[in-house]
Symmetry: D2
Subunit: 400 residues, 4 copies
Amino acid sequence: MHSHAITLLGTGLIGDFYTMTLHGQRGRDRVRVVYSRSEARGTAFRERWSIPESTTDMEAAIRHPETDVVIVALPNHLHEEAVKAVAAAGKAVLCTKPLGRNADEAKRMLEAVEAAGVFGGYLEDLCYTPKTLKAIRSVEEGALGDVTWVRSRETHPGPHSAWFWDGRLTGGGAIIDLGCHCIEIIRNFVGKGNRPVSVMCTTDTLVHPIDDEDNAIALIRFESGAIGQFEVSWTFRGGMDLRDEVAGTHGTIWLNHFLRTGYEMFTAGGSGGYVAEKAETAAGWLFPVGDEVSELGYVDMFTDMFNALDGGGTPQETFYDGYIVNAVMDACYRSARSGQWEPVDLFEWRGGTTPRITAVGETWEGHTIIKREVLPDGRVKMILKDRDTGDYVDRVISGE
Amino acid sequence: MHSHAITLLGTGLIGDFYTMTLHGQRGRDRVRVVYSRSEARGTAFRERWSIPESTTDMEAAIRHPETDVVIVALPNHLHEEAVKAVAAAGKAVLCTKPLGRNADEAKRMLEAVEAAGVFGGYLEDLCYTPKTLKAIRSVEEGALGDVTWVRSRETHPGPHSAWFWDGRLTGGGAIIDLGCHCIEIIRNFVGKGNRPVSVMCTTDTLVHPIDDEDNAIALIRFESGAIGQFEVSWTFRGGMDLRDEVAGTHGTIWLNHFLRTGYEMFTAGGSGGYVAEKAETAAGWLFPVGDEVSELGYVDMFTDMFNALDGGGTPQETFYDGYIVNAVMDACYRSARSGQWEPVDLFEWRGGTTPRITAVGETWEGHTIIKREVLPDGRVKMILKDRDTGDYVDRVISGE
Amino acid sequence: MHSHAITLLGTGLIGDFYTMTLHGQRGRDRVRVVYSRSEARGTAFRERWSIPESTTDMEAAIRHPETDVVIVALPNHLHEEAVKAVAAAGKAVLCTKPLGRNADEAKRMLEAVEAAGVFGGYLEDLCYTPKTLKAIRSVEEGALGDVTWVRSRETHPGPHSAWFWDGRLTGGGAIIDLGCHCIEIIRNFVGKGNRPVSVMCTTDTLVHPIDDEDNAIALIRFESGAIGQFEVSWTFRGGMDLRDEVAGTHGTIWLNHFLRTGYEMFTAGGSGGYVAEKAETAAGWLFPVGDEVSELGYVDMFTDMFNALDGGGTPQETFYDGYIVNAVMDACYRSARSGQWEPVDLFEWRGGTTPRITAVGETWEGHTIIKREVLPDGRVKMILKDRDTGDYVDRVISGE
Amino acid sequence: MHSHAITLLGTGLIGDFYTMTLHGQRGRDRVRVVYSRSEARGTAFRERWSIPESTTDMEAAIRHPETDVVIVALPNHLHEEAVKAVAAAGKAVLCTKPLGRNADEAKRMLEAVEAAGVFGGYLEDLCYTPKTLKAIRSVEEGALGDVTWVRSRETHPGPHSAWFWDGRLTGGGAIIDLGCHCIEIIRNFVGKGNRPVSVMCTTDTLVHPIDDEDNAIALIRFESGAIGQFEVSWTFRGGMDLRDEVAGTHGTIWLNHFLRTGYEMFTAGGSGGYVAEKAETAAGWLFPVGDEVSELGYVDMFTDMFNALDGGGTPQETFYDGYIVNAVMDACYRSARSGQWEPVDLFEWRGGTTPRITAVGETWEGHTIIKREVLPDGRVKMILKDRDTGDYVDRVISGE
């Protein structure tokens, strides 16, 4: 039963979520030292989570003699420097999403980790929600047949911290903040070996007086023919809308992670408490979630990361996955400018090939069967296509 | 209290729905004569609905001396001929959706009706569902602020009748069958005066061995900056998925018309009865709707049509609307081929202009306010943008 | 195609709902004269609904030469007098719910109508919601097997009009106002021929400073062994909660009529419009219904009433049903006082007998099979009871 | 950071759930030895969960030199013996639900633990679901005002193991199996200091050929006037229905723990996998939950138990709570026989007194205000009661 002592870089909201998860329940891994650019924030964070040490010296934090894992929970523009420093120190590195501000940055981080031979984990929590994990397993077991379409949607009224709004620091707007989640969720459902081929994306800045997009929609075409679709917004009203839909040739999955999870509360006011991340109101009908760090995937994410580390394996979400996500986002931004489908440029594809979804055409008396349905009286109605004329006809036959 | 005697052209499923609606509840309008290409189907239909006469002579049906309204419920390729004949007969004409197989057909039908000076109604039922009507009213009253995005989704496992599958007769595949609904729903939410400017669409044929698309997704850009999005499919599993989502600067609307309407049933089997249109199973968890002809908009649609006719007014859905829908669908097919945004070509735009959605940038001490939120302790957190440097900062002030 | 000219007695909220229904859509029946105790309210109502005449003379309204049907939409304490006057006038009478303030009043009304030989309809709208009608049909067709339990719940923050709060005028509190709906819904699901045998009820006045109950829960035992359960409240927060649940030996039905019907709206405010009956808030997450008069059953109720009248038949809800409901409510009040199960006293039972729900005990090798389930590997697990020792054992056998 | 080595008594389904929880995620507590009456089951369990030792000697397991905590996961009739043995061994004891087969057994177990001065925890998982914990906190913070009513419902098609069906071993039927959960959930919502005063219960055996109840409904009256209501069944069709509803003077909470939690899947079949506890079907619409051991409360339950043990405190659920639950169930069975409200007999009440819910009657111009609502035009409508005559009137005044 291994346990880990962790260096945490960053004391923002995500640092709180990570530490709440690690120190929560009966976990055996602990943050040993936390780094913040601000001494005051570092001290406050240290006291809030009973962490032995805080420091404003990032290099010292990374090279702390008692820690074996470093979690990068910094703003996006600081990821590359931090990851390279951890790789140089020879420690395992877990980096928050998105990996880079663009694919070039992500590629350099991937290379740094691989060159150093250290463990690299991509902290994409929303691919680890308990619902998502179970749904992915159902898809892999064939419950949906071939996946034809995945919709992943993440929208809310906008981030809480200033730096998120500055595209120079983050790499973009709502796509960089939210789309990175959606893309990787989609990849998990269509299969990670299913190459993202091209992207069509539209962006706009409709509400906030900012330079980057506060709304975007994108379509991703995969090698199999499956389409991924994401919708991201910083202008949604009503809380945080976090839903995934998967359609396959034999089934359907709908996941709702936040606003409709079986917890409904009306209050005339007076609660005063925290409702949920990005909740807009504290009275009227509210839709809290039970355990946010579990429902948002943080618990299973760290379990996978540390178990992979302990067992010498590979986590579900790797730096290569983070690179792919950045490459897809780069294509999104190109497409939004060009108004066309843009190819997803990858310096290397590690996923093999995926065959095109195939509709096996059954036949009946020499005609192609388009559809068959059982009528209430037990007879079978078929819609048939004549191969020669291309005409379609209805035909009702007695059931077997 | 006027009432109408109706000529019905066509005896397919839609004819049943129409007549069930007209003859249902305590309605005062009646089908007087029904036309079918097949004498047997005409007779069966006549008896099923207690209609005085059936005929295989379309011209005679249209010119029946006792009827004042003709409903065109024929396959798409027969709309133009029928509409022209009714216009020539000087009677009111109500035509099922889509109006034409393409915008050219629709334009000729529109011109025929307008030249003859007869009443023309476009039977787009899903714009008339009670939920949709009330939601449109809420949007018009400002409950959502400016509409930024509308998603309309209609998917099911594929049509019941052979002719739907033949693009030569219908004009296309799932877009023609289902997308026409979505486009007009979207137009009602973004405002009918809001010009559809351009379209981006992708189509594929993934499951059925047919020549036309069984899946499509499209984005429609409107003059205001609003984006309409539709998803249509003939390969969905689980019944008929009929949902609309509307996002605005001040609110959100989610409508679910079919699979989740507050009616949930589990049965171990043995019911044997009809569950709902496009339901796939008769055991396990089922999701019927209460009154299909009401929930799908047929009741309010005919009320609007006949009331407009009685009052000398214009119905909510006109032949011009039908023409617009066809023009948008034409642009969808062009975009699916070109892989680019395609303009929506209109021979005439009757809707005026709609201003761009505007984000009014408030300021605080010379900085642009990006976001403000009230903290649990009553203080106000603002995210500010420095106009000179473009930098973003957090600022917490005491509330008013 | 008969149509009816109606005398409406009463101009309260229910009178508005009734007239909105009758004059709505393309209905052919019309209110010809409305009676109100107040001339001002009568005039306002007449103008609101384009009714030819209003009067403060009830007898004149009832005996109006052009009307053939009288609707009693008066406060409860005026039902008996009104119904007797209509019966004396020899016209059809439709009376709102509850029929009487108690079973004695209801019995006298029933007798008056039957003695006069006039058509009597009990306007219990919630038994006529489209969902309820379809669900009753599913139950009758056997989709649920034997019904074992029905829960009907109606709760909201309290009535809008003063007289509802005065038990002297109404006959009680929340039971009289809301329980009457629930009881008749329950009867429809367990079967109208299934005699209500005894009742256990608890009441309390928890929030409002009134003399009657603002909360009550009751259990009704039927001859078959089925249990009906109702929960009524005038202190519910969050809108109007209107749900039914039916459990049977082979299935389950859940109906939600109001707060969760597939219509969800968030608004930051500014709508200003009417949301739904008993809605508490005009901002935040709201749950309107599409077409209230349809969803609440008014449309199908009047259709059934007038069709039965035209066809010489009996409507689904009769004065006898209203009497039964009053008798059950009487037993509820007795039980609330005695703290015991109280018999439902009926002067006459017209429903025949219903056999006890029977569990047919299958056997396997001489043991009683308690439960069988198919395991994931296809084998069958049985729980068996030894008839001699009374011991229970697990047994796994290979499936057929 | 303490960790615990555990003796687990019992290898049934609940033992699996417990061990899955303890050994899951990154937990630091471990089962060190497992006891089973059957050597084969013990060995299989040990191997399944990588436990160092298994044994068929209960005393040896309890006194294992390396363990400090004993978990009792045995059938009900073995709880007393096991708990006494653990108490005698001076170790912390955690006992599954229900504590005893009746209050006498539970009292003796409580006394044994208290006399020995060992830590005693009552493993009532459903009081620890993340939703329930957060909801209890909201109630405690006043979000609902005074709680007036709690409904807790647990129903499914019947237990998986034979011994559950034998009332001689368990103490009863569905009440003992499921009602124990509901009662303690209700107590948490009305407040544990709120004394359960009396109980009204009805039971029946409708479907299974067994000697104990397969259906029961009970009402529990608390000192404050709040009513708890539970519905339990072994004959429910459709899976496991696990819902709680809480009504208060200022708010409402609805929790759905199982069949509707934002995870919806349709499959035409072929998945073959495990869906969820008590799921009935493997095709059609299915409603899995994400992480069962988290959603059902096991994770937070053990965290509370071990944290309380480490910190020298008291867990949320104690042996005294288990005793209260048994005492309420005893009253349920007495009431089911007597047909009357039965007092809850307690040898000792440790909870203090709770005042009656009080409706503060505001007045306006000398009248009691029954209800006030803001009209759409801003005016305020009040329903007033005249203190002298008892009459009720409507009064509309201009808003502030």
